[in-house]
Amino acid sequence: VKDILKDVLTSYLQEEKYEPELCRQMTKTISEVIKARVKDLMIPRYKIIVIISIGQIRDQNMRMGSRCLWDETHDNFSSHTFKNSSLFATATVYGVYFE
């Protein structure tokens, strides 16, 4: 799944500069694309959550964290961050087993 994230983020954002309107659309598109590709993996009985954050780089600090209450043996997540000169993007996919 990490490969999918890497792939999608680089292909969509490699050349882009940060622009509010563009990034707004981009977040929607990217999350849909990632969700579709993860679904294509056809992993049965899993629910999927995809979170994308795209932000402008402006010498600010930022931290992202997450905690989950789930079943460790079956549930997991994957994430990837992409950065270029004007923007950064973080993609996280959570997979939760549907019992």
Partner: protein, 168 residues
Amino acid sequence: MHAVEMLSFSQTYCELNYFHSQTTFVVDEITTVIKEAVESTIGNSSYQHSQINQWMSSIVESSLSQLTKLGKPFKYIVTCIILQKNGAGLHTASSCFWDNSTDGKTYCKTGQAFHISFFFFNAKRTKSKHNREIAFNETDFCFSTGSCKVRWENKTIYCIVSVFGLAI
């Protein structure tokens, strides 16, 4: 504060034995719980780099523990983004493949622009084998000077916390 989606949630622990709890839509309850967790942790602080990790852990953990106390059969995913206010823009989006009738999410931003979104996954067994796909949800928190959705003039931090709730 936005109470976002209609959601039915509950929470599960391995110790919990009941999977037949009624699921009720209590968006406000969740939002309140989360708000309290955030306010008690951050209060009126300004951005301090050294404190960030601690704040984040404590927000997320106290939210989770409050949510578990609600005692409903859900799995929870809580995510938190803390952003120093600097005129930069941030866009967040999420796309979920789950069961619309039982799972949900919400988010909230505090006055210090600590944004917290919560996703609740209903842990209850559902009869439907077919997971319905949720429509795309976008939360756009653009803080750039050009197109701000939210302006917090006298604070220095933005914090975004998301909680997802999933049914088992």
